[in-house]
Symmetry: C2
Subunit: 134 residues, 2 copies
């Protein structure tokens, strides 16, 4: 189901990734938990620990502005400095894209300021094309 050849995930990590990969939109940690209760999940921490690892591996992204998570849809994800997300406030769909120009400018600012950049969050909120008309 994954677009990546990901290294050996544990059972919990596999289940959490599967839940995200099988979802059309982003999921909150607690809704992941609910989907996995049938597989033996009982506590939030089981989800959060798996998510931490999956994010570290680059297989999952966290959407800060909605406290939710998505499986990475972009195979080249790792090669880009920063990824941007467009989140539709009506249907919840998420588009993932990379813009090297944006990355360059933000990295340029950081360099000029002496800011040791660790992670960049770029999230656009609004209405996707389909929901725009409706």
């Amino acid at each position: 189901m994954s677009a990546h050849a990901h290294p050996d995930l544990t059972r919990n990590q596999t289940l959490v990734f599967g839940a995200l990969a099988g979802s059309v939109g982003p999921l909150s940690a607690y809704s992941i938990l609910d989907r996995l209760r049938g597989q033996g999940f009982r506590a939030p921490l089981q989800v959060y620990r798996a998510l931490d690892k999956l994010i570290e591996l680059g297989l999952v992204h966290r959407l800060e502005s909605i406290n939710a998570f998505v499986a990475c849809r972009q195979p080249e994800c790792e090669t880009h400095g920063s990824i941007a997300f467009a989140i539709c406030d009506r249907c919840g769909s998420v588009s993932e894209f990379a813009d090297d120009g944006v990355t360059r400018r933000l990295e340029g600012w950081a360099k000029a300021e002496g800011f040791d950049l660790n992670k960049t969050t770029i999230e656009l909120r609004g209405r996707c094309r389909a929901c725009r008309v409706a």
Copy 2:
């Protein structure tokens, strides 16, 4: 204390803005509440309602990646499409800046995709120059 000539704020809004303007770093809603208990604040909602209004007026920004709020430090804030924040993970300091190139590129993507852009979040996490050495 404000750099803006802001329209008539209510008592609660004034108090919340004052708390943020008088703080060196960002504050969470609950820490604002604690600072204002002496002024009669008792419930989170009093803070959140004031914050909503202040954000709407452009006097306060929400930092999505740390669930906190800052008073706007940038007088020209309104004239720029999007504002970026650099948050130091060590000392908590926040730098606010606008980059028109970044704004243009993100707006360009939105236009090309037919995405009706409402709000843009750009947050850089890392270490500020001062904390970099330490």
